[in-house]
């Protein structure tokens, strides 16, 4: 074992929290979370999670009053409509823009503005709500990225600690450690390089980063929620959607992200997972945490092949992100809130009986599962099967290796049984990938040595991941 191996759970496998399909439904998680002003997540009711961002606008001292006015307009519009539509509760995510993490005071100021408005709507109209703050991971603003020191890291750490005092109820991040290598792997459909990025580097960074975040949350009494492999698997999803890489590779990238994203929960995060972490169902199955998901009503942010199936076992339902542009009816964030509210109503009505929830889940699943391998790997029964295989392994690297191998095997079997459609131009790729996957060494040190030599010129700093310089 490498001295720098990051797993928190020691060297043994995990027993998944959910093992039966009957218990794998939306709205219910084994470990519900209470947060904010009367919000409970994962205890029977799916809650809308609304995210918004600025329209094209430079963020600087001169534009700051406009920036504040924009956020104020957005949160007012969203809270007002949430009251009118009588949502059971509202989760708002504020993802900072880079200048707001580099200058954490700015991020804190907008956090406070949002929290105050939400508190006012709670007081006056009884709107239950919680605010999730998601600072950017700005560490790749220098290239190669510097992960554990420097002004970018310092800004992030400062904002982690300011989150609670500013009014945030939950802390999250879309962390990027290992992405610089994974990107190279994706573009070249080079599975080995991808595994090195997401199975070796990323988990080491996750352990470092999330240990810090969990400590900050405990000190300030807020919820350490979750992370997302957005920079990895969603990059793959978007490239596949643009037909730049095979969909099969994007499906593999998704499941390969599971061990990396698990690390946050192993070191103390408790959920809900981030909306754009489509690996969420695996987190829910393995760790029992509630999850946030996004799909058809996040089309404003991503086109996707998993518009309905993404909803099958969600606990929060999100629009991912939308800019404050004017649509015919209202500003786009208000429009998103309305769509999410109706989506959640439908799920919650159906879930008045347990059979209703499984029926709705199965329809959401059947809608997409057979049309795309990325949808297939979100099929609840497939998730449970692959999650069990992944969790059985003791370390993030071995879990990633297993994820890649098992996913390719499962997709190949499903394709043979016509359970999932693989585009004609992709079939040749499955065999190529399987050969590479089967050849991944069992010994992590051996793999690291091999990859460090292969990637000697690659734009990353091994020491920033706790490897020798």
């Amino acid at each position: 074992m490498s001295a720098a191996s990051p797993q928190a759970s020691g060297t043994t496998g995990l027993v998944p929290a959910i093992r039966s399909l009957d218990q794998f439904i939306y709205g219910h998680a084994p470990k519900p979370i209470a947060c904010g002003r009367g919000v409970v997540i994962g205890d029977g009711t799916v809650v809308p999670e609304l995210n918004f961002t600025l329209p094209p606008l430079d963020v600087n001292v001169d534009t700051w009053p406009t920036v504040r006015a924009q956020y104020s307009e957005m949160i007012e519009g969203v809270c007002k409509r949430a009251v009118e539509l009588e949502v059971p509760a509202l989760l708002v995510e504020f993802e900072t823009l880079p200048p707001m993490t580099v200058n954490p005071e700015w991020g804190a100021e907008i956090t406070a503005l949002l929290a105050e408005t939400m508190a006012r709507y709670h007081e006056r109209h009884g709107l239950r709500s919680a605010l999730r703050l998601t600072p950017n991971d700005t560490r790749d603003h220098v290239r190669p990225p510097v992960m554990r020191s420097g002004m970018y890291w310092d800004g992030m750490v400062k904002l982690f600690r300011m989150a609670g005092p500013s009014g945030a109820d939950l802390l999250a991040i879309e962390s990027t450690g290992g992405k610089e290598i994974h990107d190279e792997g994706l573009m070249n459909a080079d599975l080995e390089t991808m595994v090195y990025g997401i199975g070796v580097l990323a988990p080491r960074d996750m352990k470092f980063l999330w240990t810090e975040m969990v400590a900050a949350c405990r000190e300030t009494n807020i919820v350490p929620s979750g992370d997302t492999a957005c920079g990895f698997a969603n990059t793959a999803m978007v490239l596949a959607e643009q037909r730049m890489i095979p969909r099969v590779l994007a499906a593999v990238a998704r499941v390969a992200a599971v061990p990396r994203s698990l690390v946050a929960y192993e070191v103390g995060a408790i959920g809900p997972s981030k909306d754009c972490a489509y690996e969420g169902p695996y987190m829910k199955a393995i760790m029992g945490v509630p999850i946030s998901m996004e799909g058809r009503s996040a089309a404003c942010a991503h086109l996707s092949a998993v518009g309905n199936i993404a909803q099958a076992v969600c606990d929060c339902w999100s629009n991912e992100s939308v800019q404050n542009v004017r649509l015919l009816s209202a500003n786009a964030p208000t429009v998103s809130l309305e769509q999410l509210a109706y989506d959640c109503r439908l799920l919650n009505v159906a879930a008045k009986t347990p059979q209703g929830a499984t029926q709705m889940r199965d329809w959401l699943t059947e809608s997409d599962a057979a049309l795309d391998p990325q949808a297939y790997v979100l099929r609840p029964d497939v998730v449970l099967r692959l999650a069990a295989a992944i969790a059985a392994e003791p370390t993030p690297y071995l879990r990633t290796r297993r994820a890649v191998q098992a996913t390719l095997q499962d997709i190949a079997d499903a394709a043979a049984k016509n359970e999932v459609k693989i585009p004609a131009n992709e079939t040749r790729w499955i065999d190529r990938f399987r050969k590479v996957a089967e050849a991944l060494p069992e010994d992590e040190d051996e793999f690291i040595t091999e990859m460090r030599s292969r990637l000697a010129d690659a734009p990353y700093l091994p020491q920033e991941y706790g490897l020798s310089a």
Partner: protein, 211 residues
Amino acid sequence: MSDLQALYTAVLEGNAPAAKAAVQQALDEGVNPEELLQKYMIPAMDEVGRLFEANEYFVPELLISARAMKGALELIRPKLVETGAKPVGKVVIGTVRGDLHDIGKNLVAAMLEGGGFEVIDLGVDVSPEKFVETAKEKGAEIIAMSALLTTTMPGMKTTVEAVNGAGLKGKVKTMIGGAPVTQRYADEIGADGFSDNASGAVRVARELVAK
């Protein structure tokens, strides 16, 4: 006599060693390098582009072909210079200020290199001044800009203005691309070229150089 069809196939299939070997043999036998380029290598890359646009090839296949092409070009370029053939062109490329996305930009850079262009890659978060200075310094014909965020797109406009402000209008052409960028936006800011995909970008760059 060397089998030049093998050169075409090597580039098409992204077999770099075979491409190099075929070029070397042909050069040794005195085949005109211009002919190698125009009749075999560029048509092979055009076919690669066609296969990509027809959804038969994916980006990884584009890239290995571009790399095979690049390797072969390195052997040819000195000969081309000797014969006085005009080089294809120089491109300064980067992702605009405030934007840290590099996948699309890297892909276009690789394809341009595969297309025979000399590419100076400034990386991400590139200021308008940096684009213009480098283009001047290196004598580039084209500045190629990428942006993935609607918030950073204005950097493209500023750069086009900086090019014009430096008196380089018409001498240094600008081209833009990236998820939120459209032909309409290009027209609006006065950029000379636009492409919504990497193999199209090579075509646009060729047209701009030919103008």
